[in-house]
């Protein structure tokens, strides 16, 4: 379990990546309610919402220093 770097809410990384379906082209689909993530400086960070991810994207250093 990770914590959202922005609001500190718990995010289940496995659930955020867990397959819930498959596209006709064969890609894995996930449940958007389980959060999202961001690839930053070679590391995946997990967020409980797009709003938090957007805040992080604007100024990642301010959240990673916390």
């Amino acid at each position: 379990m990770a914590n959202c770097p922005v609001c500190q809410a718990p995010v289940d990384e496995a659930a955020a990546k867990a397959q819930t379906g498959m596209t006709p082209g064969g890609a894995k689909e996930v449940d958007p309610k389980m959060g999202t993530r961001q690839f930053h400086d070679g590391t995946w960070y997990y967020f409980d919402s797009l709003d938090c991810r957007n805040k992080f994207t604007r100024n990642p250093d301010s959240y990673l220093k916390k």
Partner: protein
């Protein structure tokens, strides 16, 4: 200079219209609709494939592509006429946004032989993996990485607004292959099947969702996606063009992708609809077609649409003659979406308060399509290169102006 159509071209237009009347069922119309469907991946059902097969048999797919790659070796005006009629019916048969122009320009012979015939027949389709969450319109700032490992590349990162990732068979991916190079010089393009292990699609719902836009909505998809890459291994043969030279390939491909009828036609479809609506509608004895203010506004919108059409024709003419195509597609990409915003707003103003109601209201006009069009029209000014970036390209490439401080920073 003749802007009219020959009798043969008019006959072709009638033939296409008749074909659509004979073959388009309501169910197919729902699946094939250019912008409005979200839950049904567009054009993936057996009946959609059968529909495409019939269109291909008529010689109406890939009209301008060489016969050696499954095309018809035809001219762009013929393609324009055919595209216009299918777009009116809500079906996109153009190869704009498909990756095909870039593959033709930068692909190996093997890549052309494999991808172009299949793209033309709609056996495969590409989504575009360009934008990232932190980069926005500044594409060159991308961080999705592809690291060479023997004959393979290992890809990690993510893409944002990958519209059609939930229906495409392949992704046309821009990734960083050299982190130490200036940001425009370390980028490469990859052609990757969506079933490669490690690719994940997460839906993003747009303003056209909840309520989902009704079927004849002209602008704006209700679903786009985030796409994630976790240690995705692809063979080096997936590289399009040279390693680290992807910025030029991608920019050229995007520019060529803008040539064609679709940008003009999505506006024209709405312009024609409102003219027909105004001419045939009465409100409590009031005939909107006789109102001078409404007539003026509709005439103004029609003139704007014709400007858009002429810009499209010019772009097609330049590419057809093998001319230098630099800023023209960008100018078109500014004019057409902004005309779309103006025309959809004007339509709702003409219709009064009821014209702004979404389909969830029992008082909405024509299932709320006019209100949904206003909301969706703003998307077309952002996707495939925002109008702000397009204006910058017109200033630099068309008018020879120096880069602004901001664009210098964006381009490194």
């Amino acid at each position: 200079m003749d802007f009219g159509y020959t009798p043969q071209q008019e006959a072709l237009r009638r033939e296409v219209r008749q074909f659509i009347r004979d073959n388009m069922t309501p169910d197919l119309a729902e699946e094939m609709d250019v912008h409005a469907n979200a839950e049904r991946p567009r054009g993936t059902s057996p009946s959609a494939h059968e529909f495409y097969r019939k269109i291909y048999e008529r010689g109406w797919l890939g009209i301008t592509y060489p016969k050696a790659y499954g095309g018809q070796g035809g001219d762009r005006l013929t393609q324009y006429i055919v595209e216009e009629e299918f777009t009116r019916a809500g079906v996109n048969i153009a190869l704009n946004g498909s990756g095909a122009p870039a593959i033709m320009a930068a692909g190996t012979e093997e890549q052309k032989q494999y991808y172009i015939p299949r793209l033309i027949k709609r056996e495969i389709s590409f989504c575009l993996g360009f934008t990232e969450p932190h980069a926005g319109a500044d594409l060159a700032n991308l961080k999705c990485s592809a690291v060479r490992d023997g004959d393979y590349y290992v890809i990690n990162g993510q893409k944002m607004y990958t519209t059609a990732a939930h229906s495409a068979t392949h992704i046309y991916l821009m990734a960083r292959t050299d982190r130490s190079a200036p940001k425009h010089d370390g980028i490469s393009i990859f052609l990757i099947p969506m079933d490669a292990p490690g690719i994940t699609v997460r839906p993003l719902w747009t303003i056209q969702n909840n309520p989902t836009a009704p079927l004849p909505t002209t602008y704006g998809a209700s679903r786009t996606n985030e796409t994630f890459f976790d240690d995705v291994r692809v063979h080096k043969s997936c590289l399009l063009g040279e390693e680290n030279k992807g910025w030029r390939v991608g920019s050229m491909g995007l520019n060529l992708d803008r040539v064609g009828a679709s940008r003009y036609l999505i506006s024209v479809r709405r312009d024609e609809d409102i003219v027909n609506f105004v001419k045939s509608t009465r409100f409590d004895g009031f005939e909107p077609g006789k109102d001078p203010a409404i007539r003026d506004k509709i005439a103004e919108m029609w003139i704007e649409a014709q400007v858009c059409r002429l810009m499209t024709m010019r772009s097609m003419s330049i590419v057809e003659r093998g001319g230098k195509f630099t800023y023209e597609g960008s100018a078109e990409k500014v004019w057409a979406p902004e005309h779309g915003v103006r025309t959809t707003e004007a339509i709702t103003q003409m219709l009064g308060p009821y014209g702004s109601l979404l389909r969830t209201s029992p008082h909405a006009i024509e299932d709320g399509v006019f209100a949904h069009n206003v909301m969706g029209s703003f998307q077309s000014g952002i996707n495939h290169g925002s109008v702000q970036v397009m204006r910058d390209q017109v200033a630099r490439r068309g008018l020879g102006m120096p880069s602004s401080r901001k664009s210098r920073k964006a381009e490194g």
